[in-house]
Amino acid sequence: MAKMNMLHAINSALDITMNEHPQACIFGEDVGYFGGVFRATSGLQEKYGKHRVFNTPLTEQGILGFANGLAAFGAPALAEIQFADYIFPAFDQIVNESAKFRYRSGNEFNVGNLTIRTPYGGGIAGGLYHSQSPEAYFAHTPGLKLVVPRNPYQAKGLLRSCIKDDNPVIFFEPKRLYRASIGEVPEEDYTIELGKAEIVREGKDITLLAWGAQMEILEQAAEKAEAAGISCEVIDLRTILPWDVETIAKSVKKTGRLVISHEAPITNGFGAEIAATIQEECFLHLESPIMRVCGLDTPYPLALEKEYVPDALKIFAAIKKSVEY
């Protein structure tokens, strides 16, 4: 075990992968000599050579096109998109290509070797183009897996699972936590199973659900609730596609209440899918409507970020509303 921040944990997962597969490649804008604008790939070009860790030209559609090709060839393709806000030029390559590669060919070809890493989320005074949480845009796409870690330990274990998984995966990294979140992380290899949510705090009155950086906020809200005598079961979804309906439904059947929170705008965010599914799974157990505490339906703001975000106060207000319903 060692104390690591999230960047170190990610770097370690990449390092293990590069060591494991002689053909694994890391590429993206500025990931080479410089080690990425957040330094997640720091030191790796030096260690594995310019032919395996390299800068690409500035073209996200090219990065993903290249990545699909390299993955189809059979090499682990570890592509970085510098900010999740800039993943959209690659949307066609991801949604029409990566996601459908195996299906359309009848499994003659696949891009299971593809892993896309991208920093997402707000809280860093980044305004509308350095703060987006675009996971829901991809969640409507069969063929993809989507994963979001909440801390360094999770980051390393989940990223290793994404890489080993034989499907294209997008790994969303909460950039607000890159350096802020520090914890014990094994130096050796380990994995955390995809598709499984984790109950991070048990409770009986209400279930709170989120992922990534929002988990921290959820826990603050749970603390407030606890102080007010409300016992919260707090769950980290971890994998958005495929998501763990079973664990959530089980918890909601127990508590009878659910609050979901994400940074992205509320309308058609992934909270919508969770609410839609859980109201069906748990209809007879729900004691109040499922509530969503999310970003407003606006682009991500700058000066009014504080007002915009689903903070602990807002979540706590929803918890009370749910419990008092």
Partner: protein, 405 residues
């Protein structure tokens, strides 16, 4: 270049623009319309066996195209695309490759697949979306693919295969790179050819794919089929530069333009391109000039956008005829025998069609297989519910209900 801006810096003090057509791009042609090698033309190394295989393939594809076009008109298949006029471009380029080279095509390159050995039965199974289709009946007719033959399954979205080819070829090169020096340590044993139309070359993916291939030294042969049209859009509403070849210098890529109706020129150019790509670890751009003689597809009617005169002008320059004349001149082809083979082929094709159209549709499992390596729980649940639903209403789902496991 030796400056950080990575440009030539020949200073000049005269304010003059480079013209938009400053390049002089020759078009390579080696065989005339009478099947005679043009005097003074570069020597070409095309042996009898390969030449005949090229011819056989073109002949087969022409007959297959004719038959399947008709089959679509009869309502037997839903859609078809001919490669009329472009047979030589596709077949001869494929012939210049090695079997281990990857082919990433757009959709009008059935001849390359035929050259590789895709069987008549395999073609038919795909077009009839039956349970024997390698693609499990999921894509429209002509979206072929074969792992065994290194022919990537066709994808309808245009241009997407271009940067993919760059990535795939990079993978092919990787094992030839010396980990210490980062340099190429041996000739690359398998390269990639990437076909696309002059229309698809307008997509952003084209730009990304060619630029990245140049920068990363991917051994790809980019083969642009400039056939004058993208559905109804003529090439002069597609670009104002001098074809696709003029873009090669924009990327620093060695480039050649060939007469796409001349199988020999295409063969020679591609052979040379493969040599450059595999030895240097760099991409090459070939632009083939041929005319799309047929409609875009069976959904299209070109009389709505181009003149009969124009079509007539190209109708007589049949690339198959041109090559055939050369073969006859070489004494490698007997015309009577050729006719007999054609007759036999026509029969074979019709028979294969009749067999394939009777093969059952894929089973219900194939609705959910291959979305992931193994079905995710939500999908499995949806499938189970669907199965139950179908069992309750078998008459409404006749092609699968009887076979549900």
């Amino acid at each position: 270049m030796t400056n950080p801006n990575n440009v030539s810096l020949n200073l000049s003090h005269a304010l003059e623009f480079i013209d938009g057509h400053a390049l002089n791009i020759p078009t390579i042609t080696l065989l005339d319309q009478n099947g005679q090698l043009i005097e003074g033309a570069s020597n070409v190394d095309l042996d009898k066996e390969t030449a005949l295989k090229i011819y056989d393939t073109m002949r087969f594809i022409r007959l297959l195209d004719e038959r399947m076009q008709a089959a679509q008109r009869q309502g037997r298949i839903s859609f078809y695309m001919q490669c009329l006029g472009e047979e030589a471009a596709v077949t001869a380029s494929a012939a210049a490759l090695k079997p281990q080279d990857m082919i990433m095509a757009q959709y009008r390159e059935q001849a390359a697949l035929a050259y590789r050995g895709f069987t008549l039965e395999q073609f038919m199974n795909q077009m009839f979306s039956n349970e024997k289709d390698l693609g499990k009946g999921r894509q429209m007719p002509i979206h072929y693919g074969s792992n065994e033959l290194n022919y990537l399954t066709i994808s309808s979205p245009l241009g997407t295969q271009i940067p993919q080819a760059t990535g795939y070829a990079y993978g092919q090169k990787l094992k030839h790179i010396d980990a210490k020096t980062g340099e190429l340590s041996s000739q690359i044993d398998a390269v990639t050819i990437c076909y696309f139309g002059e229309g698809a070359a307008s997509e952003g993916d084209f730009h990304a794919g060619l630029n990245m291939a140049a920068v990363h030294g991917s051994p790809v042969i980019f083969f642009a089929r400039n056939n004058g049209y993208a559905i109804s859009t003529p090439a002069d509403e597609q670009f104002k530069g001098d074809g696709i070849a003029a873009r090669g210098v924009g990327y620093g890529i060695k480039t050649i333009r060939v007469d796409g109706g001349d199988a020999i020129a295409v063969y020679a150019a591609t052979q040379l391109a493969r040599d450059i790509a595999s030895k240097n670890g760099e991409p090459v751009l070939i632009e083939s000039i041929a005319y799309r003689l047929g409609a875009h597809s069976t959904s299209d009617d070109p009389t709505g956008y181009r003149s009969k005169d124009e079509e007539a002008q190209f109708r007589n320059n049949c690339p198959i005829e041109r090559f055939k004349k050369w073969l006859v001149n070489q004494g490698w082809l007997d015309l009577a025998e050729d006719e007999a083979v054609k007759e036999k082929l026509r029969e074979d094709i019709l028979n294969a069609l009749k067999v394939a159209e009777k093969v059952a549709k894929p089973p219900l499992e194939d609705l959910i297989s291959d979305v992931y390596d193994t079905p995710i729980p939500a999908l499995q649940k949806q499938y189970d519910a669907l199965k139950e639903h179908i069992l309750q209403h078998p008459q409404a789902y006749p092609s699968t209900a009887g076979r549900i496991k």
